[in-house]
């Protein structure tokens, strides 16, 4: 009886060792199959990895193991399809999180401005609707005005290229807030008909 268990453990360990040695030398990764479905997209199980395996933290340091894993914190929060994979605005609305508006006062209330700006865009994409409400719940007016956006109609030239390069909306979207791969979150107002009409010279 003892013999069989021994030999089982032994043979198992030997097999594992050989397998490990092959992997060390060949340097292959587990998913080496070139025909995996959607190979460039990380599956849901690999999103929000814990610090020791997330590629940025040093797994050899004492810090990485002591830090909280994002998945623990994100457990109850509403999910989204990009960025942190969390819908932060929804989380705030549903009161799943209650971030402070003031460093010391947990009960401070933000000055929220409910003003929508609709920007007509060239081409066939729907027009952009910018809602101040969701932004002013998080930010102060001085964060954007006048340094990033001049608070005056017609004074801001915004193009997708500028946003991708990290200017204007791209200062936050694509860095901390949801990235611009989510087109319809901004381009949300269908155009009425045809393309832009141009006012003729007076």
């Amino acid at each position: 009886m003892k013999m069989t268990i021994h030999s089982l453990i032994k043979s198992g360990a030997v097999l594992c060792t050989v397998f490990m040695l092959i992997l060390f030398t060949a340097g292959k990764s587990f998913s080496a199959d070139p025909n995996t479905f959607n190979r460039l997209l990380a599956p849901a199980s690999e999103r929000n990895p814990p610090p020791p395996t997330d590629g940025i933290h040093d797994a050899n340091g004492p810090g990485a193991a002591a830090l909280q894993t994002p998945k623990t914190a994100f457990h109850d929060l509403p999910k989204s399809k990009s960025g942190n994979y969390i819908d932060w605005v929804k989380a705030l609305d549903e009161k799943k999180i209650s971030p402070r508006y003031d460093r010391l006062d947990p009960n401070a209330v933000p000055v929220v401005m409910d003003l929508n700006i609709v920007r007509e865009v060239k081409g066939s994409m729907p027009n952009v609707v910018y809602p101040h409400k969701q932004h002013t719940e998080w930010l102060d007016c001085s964060n954007c005005h006048p340094a990033i956006f001049i608070p005056q109609k017609g004074a801001n030239d915004i193009s997708m290229a500028a946003i991708l390069l990290g200017e204007k909306c791209g200062v936050c979207h694509g860095k901390v807030a949801f990235p611009v791969s989510e087109c319809r979150r901004c381009h949300s107002q269908k155009k009425e008909k045809g393309s832009t009409k141009v006012k003729q010279q007076k």
Binding site: A42, G55, H57, D58, A59, P62, Y85, Y101, S142, K175
Partner: protein, 153 residues
């Protein structure tokens, strides 16, 4: 053969078996540890919006700082740090050093032992891989500079 083994039953064979068993168990244990540490099926994706700050860390021999936006976003609105505490929207663009933090500026405004843990927990902030350049992890600009095909290898 059999008589020989029986004669040495209590010595060589059992000895070999014991040694092998021990080694096998040790290897299994290490294998589990190593697997958890080393092997990532894909190139890992750190949490989106983690800011790596490496202005002075490399020279000082410390790991670069990894600032997790997500953790702070759950507890504070953007305005608190970016309007009240003076943090600019610029990874590495705020001249933060340990002296300022100890004096209560920037990170030290909260990491003072009252609002949050204090500054002697070096490794909780200085937890990045040595040599990582200052960057906002997962940002569009970062994606523009590296192709997804290279990342997935």
């Amino acid at each position: 053969m059999k008589t020989y083994l029986r004669r040495h039953a209590r010595s060589n064979k059992e000895r070999y078996l014991n040694i092998n068993l021990l080694l096998a168990l040790l290897v299994l244990l290490l294998l589990i540890m190593v697997t958890l540490d080393l092997f990532n099926p894909r190139s890992a994706h750190a949490e989106y919006a983690d800011v790596v700050i490496n202005n002075y860390s490399d020279e000082a021999g410390m790991r670069p700082v990894v600032f997790p936006h997500w953790f702070h976003r759950i507890r504070f609105r953007c305005k608190v740090c970016h309007a009240d505490l003076g943090f600019k929207f610029d990874a590495g663009g705020n001249d933060i050093n340990m002296l300022k933090i100890i004096d209560g500026e920037y990170c030290g405004a909260c990491h003072d032992g009252d609002i949050a843990w204090s500054v002697e927990n070096c490794d909780l902030c200085h937890s990045g891989q040595p040599g990582t350049p200052t960057q906002v992890h997962g940002s569009t600009l970062q994606k523009l500079k590296t192709s997804p095909a290279a990342d997935a290898k």
